[in-house]
Symmetry: C2
Subunit: 167 residues, 2 copies
DNA sequence: ATAAACTTTCAAAAATTATTGAAAGTTTAA
DNA sequence: TTAAACTTTCAATAATTTTTGAAAGTTTAT
């Protein structure tokens, strides 16, 4: 496997993984492309490499900037905008976890809280609803908190062998 | 908020959360419905409650059985099949984490491994590709392993206050 | 064997989501 | 101010995913 094949494989795999962290294919592919690029890329270059339209590129780059993982880079003497992505995987993971939590997990936790707080009218079905949604709420809340704490450690939890705790 | 409103809110929230664990809306809603039901439900009952077609119900129930979180329940003297879901949230989390890892994360880790193992031809772009995909591989691999170990603890990690480790 | 009761399949339709491209908008240089 | 260089917007279109429903398949009772 030489460079181009490997590059394409990486971009397409990362693109299809987009769903896993809740973004679309083009957005994930743009991020992937920037992630392995040795220099900032212009809109033109992104369009060319990924064979996508200007509008698509513009919207998805903007979204990546909203997520906080892509930034504009101004090249002196150039009118065009150039883009780079966060290159540190730890920081990337931290930002993604934080955003997903804020956008998707927190609202669900909030709803679960509301549902499991309804008045117990004594019927079996109400008791079951309360019991089960309470269990889910607690699980989701704990998992979310843990994920955030884990990912927010600024020490490198990879090399600190935190794994040992669970072995 | 009384029972029916709460029930609908739960089912629809859980349904839209489906994407987060990689399944479609109907599948998530069926699971949600069974999760708060006090008794096993037939295909008819599921169709009726969620207002979905027979074919849709059949296919999604089958998928939930493939995932291992819904099981057939045979009621003596009845010809119909009845369904129940795993009621324990810990076990549910364990199964979901395991399936997601197997279906989606492992294949990506495998690809990352391949890509970061290409021959270093000495060019800057190849070095960058190798370096960045290696970092992602290590992160993904560690995160996946941790998640599985966490979720496989059969002790109750909620009540064991594992949280304290990260506070 | 037959028929009733039920489940599964799958091609077609509907719904949803992503993408395009051209027009409108913005910024900069002269 | 004008015009060139660039970016953004968004209605239309395309692609993808989900859902339907009726036909085919299966099982069970008689």
């Amino acid at each position: 496997m030489e460079y181009n094949e490997a590059k394409n494989k990486f971009i397409s795999t990362w693109g299809s993984l987009g769903t896993l962290w809740g973004i679309n294919k083009a957005m994930a592919q743009i991020q992937a492309l920037l992630f392995i690029s040795t220099k900032p890329l212009s809109t033109e270059e992104i369009m060319e490499e990924l064979q996508i339209s200007r509008g698509n590129t513009s919207m998805n780059v903007r979204q990546l900037m909203d997520w906080g993982i892509v930034t504009k880079e101004l090249v002196p003497g150039e009118r065009k905008e150039y883009f780079t992505t966060e290159k540190d995987v730890q920081e990337l993971a931290r930002v993604i976890a934080k955003e997903r939590s804020r956008r998707e997990i927190q609202p669900v936790i909030k709803t679960l809280k509301e549902v499991c707080s309804i008045k117990d009218d004594g019927t079996e079905k109400t008791k079951e609803l309360i019991k089960q949604t309470k269990a889910l709420h607690d699980l989701a809340d704990t998992a979310d908190t843990m994920l955030n704490k884990l990912v927010n450690q600024n020490q490198n939890w990879l090399t600190k062998s935190l794994l040992k705790l669970f072995s």
